[in-house]
């Protein structure tokens, strides 16, 4: 029996060894993906996470979830000058949407996806062994991106849930975040932008050009202050950008948006597009169904022809090549249409987020009526081929600034926020004047100045995230 036992026990020992060696085999790396538990360990990992945050930020602008960008609905179609072409489809422009609209669901989904990518860098980079200057630059880049998104959100929805850390758990106590106040949201945005301004380089070289710079952060800070009504801080920030001497207006308006003019001298920050890799969908999104080019036309963000397009000064060179007319006579924007595009939704035209003309006009606005302010406005007018204006030109100064912005930033998602900046009464009046001029019986009130919160977030948090008044 002893022999037997030896045999048996040696066999069991062999089996046991097999057990031990095999248990490790259960940790399998996904070869076509990267396991997030094995990532964020080096400077190079963090750089790729930063790039992902840019791509996520881009997703807010191109509509990552649905392929249809909500931003044109929220910021342009909502406003007076723009429209949706499909009959019955202009619920956004007619203020007929509520929180069940997919545009809001998509917008919040895109937005917080990007914010989580930013937060991942912010939480992970401090734990990586790397150069401190570079680390802070990386954190500053995504801090800017996060602030820019929250800035859009606070203007569109009021205070929003401020999520500032990477999601690592789905426990209800962690994931259910209530809305912050408007003031707290702005405070966070300003804190983020100040950090970015302090840690970002003034310029980049080569293939890094297009990343967020110190001046982009300062310029956006100026825009944030201006929107908040803090004219002094706005003026300080915006004047610093002008005084940097790094930016200038492109010689012609069309050159600003040329598909081969990425990150040109006028650009402080823009959404980067690249045909066949991260192509622009905007040409198709804005085209009409019968436009006749590659890919479908979606009829979104069409110009109001009589109300807006025909109100351009005939001498205004910004109208040149701005729109096209399809075979059925419908007008659509070609501002972002890449003429070289062969596959639909795949253009090479970048989308401007902050450019020098905006800096000049905002600086003028923050200074108020003065020769200096008219000087900045007239720089922009001169490029458009328009004569100078001055205090002698009829009209209130602020109306003259707004009028300039209205034609300078066509289809750039500035219009709704510009209307909002004029204050509740004037914003309501602007919209109601527009409705009555079009024979539309709609009359809006103060609650319409905020978009509704998507109902899905209210439902899933059991009402912890509150709806805006009136919805």
């Amino acid at each position: 029996m002893k022999t037997i036992n030896r045999k048996t026990s040696s066999l069991l020992a062999i089996l046991l060894l097999t057990f031990i060696s095999c248990s490790k085999q259960l940790d399998i790396a996904p070869l076509s993906y990267v396991n997030s538990a094995d990532f964020y360990n080096s400077a190079s990992d963090i750089l790729q996470a930063v790039n992902a945050a840019y791509a996520g930020h881009r997703g807010v602008y191109v509509g990552k979830t649905s392929g249809l960008p909500p931003i044109f609905q929220l910021e342009d179609v909502r406003a007076d000058d723009y429209d949706n072409g499909n009959s019955g489809d202009d619920v956004m422009g007619l203020f007929q949407v509520d929180g069940s609209s997919q545009w809001y669901l998509w917008n919040w989904t895109d937005t917080y996806y990007a914010i989580n990518l930013c937060n991942t860098v912010i939480d992970r980079a401090p734990k990586v062994d790397m150069d401190d200057v570079l680390r802070n630059r990386y954190i500053a880049e995504v801090t800017f991106l996060r602030a820019q998104i929250y800035f859009l959100m606070v203007q569109d929805y009021g205070g929003v849930p401020l999520v500032l850390h990477e999601t690592t758990s789905f426990d209800a106590s962690v994931v259910n975040v209530a809305r912050s106040s408007v003031a707290d949201t702005y405070t966070q945005i300003i804190t983020d932008l100040q950090f970015a301004a302090a840690n970002l380089p003034e310029t980049y070289t080569g293939n890094d050009i297009g990343r967020v710079t110190k001046w982009a952060a300062i310029g956006l800070l100026g825009k944030v202050y201006l929107q908040e009504g803090d004219l002094g801080n706005a003026q300080t920030s915006l004047r610093a950008v002008v005084n940097s001497g790094l930016y200038k207006l492109m010689p012609t308006y069309q050159e600003v948006f040329a598909p081969t003019n990425h990150n040109n001298a006028e650009s402080l920050f823009e959404i980067q597009q690249l045909a066949n890799f991260a192509g622009s969908p905007y040409g198709n999104i804005m085209a009409t169904p019968n436009w006749g080019g590659a890919g479908a036309g979606y009829n979104y963000d069409l110009p109001q022809v009589a109300y807006y397009l025909n109100s351009f000064d005939p001498a205004d060179e910004r109208k040149v090549g701005l729109t096209a007319t399809d075979p059925l006579g419908n007008v659509y924007s070609v501002k972002y249409l890449d003429p070289a595009m062969t596959t639909g939704f795949n253009g090479n035209t970048d989308f401007p987020v902050l450019r020098y003309a905006d800096i000049l006009l905002m600086l003028a606005e923050s200074i108020g009526e003065s020769d200096e302010a008219y000087g900045y406005i007239n720089q922009v007018r001169a490029r458009a081929g328009l004569p100078d204006i001055s205090s002698a030109t009829p009209g209130a100064f602020i109306d003259k600034v707004m009028n300039e912005r209205r034609y300078e930033f066509s289809f750039e998602c500035n219009r709704w926020h510009d209307i909002l900046r004029m204050g509740t009464d004037k914003a309501i009046q602007t919209m109601n004047n527009y409705f009555s001029s079009q024979g539309i019986s709609k009359v809006i009130d103060a609650h319409d100045l905020l978009h509704p919160i998507p109902v899905s977030i209210i439902e899933v948090t059991n009402g912890l995230v509150a709806q805006n008044p009136g919805y």
Binding site: L26, P30, A49, A52, V163
Partner: protein
């Protein structure tokens, strides 16, 4: 009947050969062994055991009423000590068991019959075999007779209808296409529900099982309850199908030749009944009369020549040749068993230009190295290729043929094919259809598959009663799909497109088991312990190209490869398992089985890396009790019960870990250049784990009246828990949903099967059957707040308290009449929109308004779950002639037929089903039969119950008429046996189902639809989106020859 029955035999695992056994020159290559503990003083009886066509090795020969048993050797010879007035019981896997009285004889030669399954035959179970008598689990065992002589290309087509609890849905009846297989109904909401497949001990999948040539199969076991499946742990939850191939046997080499040839065609009963030319034009006129002039109808009327009436469905089918040849060499010697086979099957598809070919080989050899060591190798390469047609609403030949207007001729006067874009007919349909013959001529689709399964083992009898077995094997497969759609295939303009998809996998399995069997007096114990490790690498390459400048070059080098739809993907999984089983048997009366498996899987979250899957079962052979000793009519009777826990690990390879994917982010001046980022796609989910099935099973097995009647009954109650569901989370997390194990559902059912040998003697008549009833299927929990899952445009609803994917529709209760309008019955669309002749719907909430189906007036009406599934077999024999018939059916399910609905949109110009023509409302004076609406009725796109299609059917699945040529006349030709037969599959069916195959459940939605799918495989049980392909009716003549 008050004697003990033979003790346990065990395949694969060595126990304790006793002295008498050792005295024999026994070969244990397939490791059947026996044991005995009580010896009587008796004489030696010897003899030979054979089947109708060969000697049988490894047959258990037992002395009835004792524990003495032995096995036949390679020559089929046995020798055993037995009382001279005793009875010998012969049993063998896949064969019946037969008793022979010794009657003082010392030589007894026996022929075993494989035609009836009886209670004491041996069945294959997980990691071993058991006497059916000693089984405590619910297992259906199908022998080769259930698969032989069938004109089919895989074993699933052959066993369809032959086992209780098993449903096989041929969703695409083109030859060689995979069926959907479900054991005891679907019990998962969003993950896989396919059973586990085990081929000769190798755990694999359906694709590999389908690749086997059916003539290579010795037996198929379907493991249903937890006692049987828990030994497969986290993969046993959906049931297990074990396939055992034929092994070497017989002293002298035998050559088997199986030849079949015939043809397949379509049964015109399966056509969709559609309008002919005059009816189509008449219907178009009525649409105009009812809804005003429109282009399709105007063109339909003006383009018709007054006589063309094309039956498009008649154009696309062919009489397809069928051939099936296999040859095998089988034999054994003192030191080796061998079985070598080759097969070739060529089955043409009933759709013109489609076909399927299978080339298969298998070599199975076992060597005895010495008294204690055995090794063996089983290698089976299989290669298949098929020529396919596109599958979809309008792009499949049968889809286009159903919907193509009958006023268009097959060929225009200029010889070209007519279609909806032909100049004279342009505008006739708003949806452009290719002539189905153009699809057949121009579309190119091929699938090439190679499967190689190789498994080697070593068995070592360490000491008496203790056997070690280790095996290592690999399964490699490669499946390649190629398509080309030329620029000339309508609808034009067609961007010529080619796809190339190549998926490869290699799967390694190492299994190590120890088996110990001991008999102590009247107690028999058998212990099994083991460790296994399995690993799979998957590799998928997919390429797509379009803009081919010429159709002359159809490989992808001829076009522009599309980067966004080309790439490779790799995946991988591993599973580490510990398993154990104890069988205990007291006097052959009281049976106890306890099993346990512990699985560690790479797929599970880190907090649940390992799971335990136990089961326990008891059995009572009550017929052995003395109080039944007077009941001579009772041969055997058993009651059994089991309870256990199994898992479903089909949750995806990497669902539990956080995944980052590459993303493009351009920067730079000018046109910009690309940079790579790694972006979050899924969050880590350390709690994600298997779905759990807790199943109770109770059963009765009876054999009566000299084994002429046998009957099996089972009741099961399965509670599946931890069902994987996608739970909504606040999107402020950066995610919309998180996969969690929180759903729960219960299914219960009854299963019956039995066999009755009505007549024996010169005229033989046998009747058998099986019936499976689903008693209850109920969803018990869904997500944290229990909100229903809505699928397929809102037509399918899964809610707590209901069934899986119940249909939600408006309830049509007739046709609106003028009187209804006067009485103010609410109309769909509101007053003034709805008109007499429209569908009249139930106002479910009695608010005086007919809301849409996905709102207040939607009503849950039916689902696609069969309440009953049955199979009936009957066989007659007279002298050397026999006739066998297999019938099959089901009832209780409905599919919502989108094909039906697409077809009725006469306003679009597509052809319309006759169902919407005959008996239609024309006017108040011609109201029709009160069930069919007017042409162009309002709300045609709204799902309503009139489009439900009941899938109940009764089908003659197979008819086989055979003749065994008497042996005497063959001896001169060196032929040992010869049988000729005629076999007909799918001869006829009875069903109310319209269009194609009622046994098909299609899981894909209409192309381009914004379907809200469930997570996982995106199935929609309750919809049929396109005309399904009819089952081929196959006629074959064949011969089986043994040399």
């Amino acid at each position: 009947m008050n004697h003990c029955l033979p003790k346990r035999k065990n395949l694969f695992l060595l126990g304790c050969p006793n002295k008498d056994f050792k005295a024999q020159k026994m070969i244990l290559l397939l490791a059947l062994f026996f044991s005995s503990s009580i010896l009587f003083a008796q004489k030696t009886v010897s003899g030979n055991v054979s089947s109708k066509d060969s000697t049988l090795q490894g047959v258990t020969v037992a002395v009835k009423g004792s524990t003495v048993s032995t096995l036949t050797d390679a020559n089929g010879h046995f020798s055993i000590n037995a009382p001279s007035d005793g009875t010998l019981v012969f049993s063998f896997v896949g064969y019946g068991s037969q008793e022979f009285k010794i009657n003082n004889r010392s030589v007894i030669d026996v022929q075993l019959s494989s035609t009836t399954q009886q209670l004491s035959s041996v069945v294959v179970v997980g990691y071993g075999t058991q006497l059916k008598k000693d089984l405590t689990g619910s297992i259906v065992s199908l022998g080769p007779d259930k698969m032989e002589e069938r004109p089919v290309v895989n074993f699933l087509d052959a066993i369809n209808g032959q086992a209780s609890g098993l449903q096989i849905w041929q969703n695409n009846a083109a030859p060689g296409q995979a069926s959907t297989v479900v054991i005891r109904g679907i019990a998962s909401i969003s993950t896989g529900y396919a059973p586990l497949y085990v081929i000769d001990g190798f755990i694999t999948d359906q694709a590999n099982a389908n690749a086997i040539n059916p003539t290579d199969i010795q037996s198929v076991e379907i493991l249903k309850d937890a006692s049987a499946t828990a030994i497969y742990g986290s993969r046993g939850g959906n049931g297990v199908i074990i396939i055992t191939t034929k092994s070497g046997k017989g002293a002298k080499p035998s050559v088997y030749l199986n030849l079949q040839a015939g043809f397949s065609d379509v049964n015109k009963q399966d056509f969709y009944p559609v309008l002919n030319g005059p009816e189509y034009v008449q219907y178009a006129k009525e649409i105009i009369a009812n809804t005003g002039p429109a282009t399709p109808q105007n063109v339909a009327i003006s383009s018709w020549d007054g006589k063309t009436s094309t039956d498009w469905q008649n154009q696309i089918y062919q009489k397809a040749p069928y051939q099936n040849y296999s040859v095998s060499l089988v034999g054994s010697s003192n030191t080796a068993n061998y079985s070598l086979s080759m097969g070739y099957i060529d089955q043409g598809g009933i759709i013109k230009s489609t076909d399927y070919k299978k080339y298969s080989m298998r070599a199975r050899v076992d060597f005895k190295l010495n008294d204690k060591l055995r090794i063996g190798l089983n290698v089976a390469p299989n290669y298949t290729q098929s020529k396919n047609m596109p599958d979809g609403d309008f792009i499949s030949p049968q889809g286009a043929a159903t919907f193509m207007p009958p006023t268009i001729p097959v060929k225009l006067p200029d010889g070209s094919y007519g279609n909806t874009q032909s100049p004279d007919y342009s505008g006739i349909s708003a949806i452009q259809l290719a002539n189905p013959l153009q699809i057949i001529d121009l579309y190119k689709g091929y699938t090439y598959s190679t499967f190689i399964l190789a498994n080697a083992y070593l068995e070592w009898d360490i000491i008496k009663d203790l056997r070690f077995r280790t095996s290592i094997g690999a399964n490699t497969s490669n499946i390649r799909n190629e398509t080309y759609t030329p620029s000339t295939l309508p609808p034009l303009p067609q961007n010529p497109t080619a796809t190339y998809d190549n998926s490869t996998l290699i799967n390694w399995l190492n299994e190590n088991t120890l088996n110990y069997t001991k008999i102590f007096g009247e107690h028999t114990i058998e212990l099994l312990g083991g460790f296994t490790y399995q690993h799979e690498d998957d590799d998928d390459a997919y390429l797509s190209a379009n803009s081919f400048p010429t159709n002359g070059v159809q490989t992808l080098n001829g076009g522009s490869v599309l980067p966004s739809s080309s790439g490779t993907l790799k995946s991988e999984w591993a599973i580490v398992s510990y398993l154990a089983r104890a069988n205990y048997n007291y006097k052959g009366k009281y049976l106890l089985t306890v099993t346990w498996r512990r699985d560690g899987s790479s797929r599970f979250g880190s907090n649940y890396k390992y799971g335990n899957f136990p089961s326990a079962a008891i059995g009572w052979n009550f017929s052995e009790e003395s109080f039944l000793s007077g009941a001579k009519w009772m041969n055997s009777g058993k009651i059994r019960a089991s309870y256990g826990k199994t898992g479903n690990n089909e949750i995806g390879d990497f669902a539990a870990i956080g995944l980052l994917a590459t993303t493009n982010q351009p920067f730079g001046l000018g046109s910009g250049s690309n940079n790579i980022g790694l972006t979050i796609t899924t969050p880590p989910n350390p709690n994600l784990t298997w779905e759990t099935a807790n199943q109770f099973d109770a059963g009765v097995d009876l054999t009566m009246f000299s084994n002429r009647v046998n009957f099996t009954f089972d009741y099961y109650n399965r509670l599946t828990d931890g069902l994987l569901l996608s739970v909504n989370v606040p999107m402020t997390t950066g995610y919309s949903s998180s996969l969690q194990n929180i759903g729960k559902m219960r299914s219960t059912g009854f299963e019956f099967s039995g066999n009755f040998q009505v007549l024996d003697g010169p005229f033989k008549w046998n009747v058998g059957g099986n019936l499976s009833l689903i008693a209850e299927q109920k969803v018990l929990a869904l997500g944290p707040d229990g909100s229903p899952l809505i699928g397929f445009y809102g037509t399918l609803v899964t809610m707590v308290g209901g069934h899986l994917e119940e249909g939600r529709y408006l309830h049509s209760i007739g046709i609106v009449s003028q009187a209804d309008i006067q009485s103010g019955y609410p109309l769909f669309g509101g007053p003034g929109v709805g008109k007499p002749g429209d569908y009249k719907y139930e106002d479910v909430n009695h608010d005086g308004i007919i809301d849409n189906f996905n709102q207040k007036d939607g009503k849950i009406l039916g689902d696609n779950i069969n309440r009953g599934v049955y199979g009936i077999t009957t066989s007659f024999g007279y002298k050397n002639f026999d006739l066998n018939v297999l019938m099959q059916g089901q009832w209780g399910a409905n599919v919502y037929d989108l094909a039906n609905q697409l077809g009725q949109l006469g306003t679009q110009g597509l052809n319309t089903l006759s169902k919407f023509y005959n008996g239609r409302y024309i006017s108040e004076s011609e109201p029709g039969n009160g069930q069919v609406p007017r042409a162009g009725f309002y709300g045609a796109g709204t799902p309503n119950t009139a489009f439900l299609n009941p899938t109940a059917f009764f089908r003659f699945r197979n008819v086989n008429f055979g003749y065994n040529i008497p042996a005497g006349s063959l001896a001169k030709m060196q032929i040992k046996s010869l049988r000729v037969f005629i076999s007909i599959d799918n001869l006829a069916r009875i069903t109310k189902f319209m269009g194609g195959n009622p046994g098909a459940t299609r899981f894909d939605g209409p192309s381009g639809g914004a379907e809200v799918r469930l997570t996982g495989n995106g199935r929609s049980l309750g919809n049929n989106s396109a005309p399904s392909l009819p089952l081929p009716r196959t006629f074959a003549i064949g011969a089986s020859v043994r040399f």
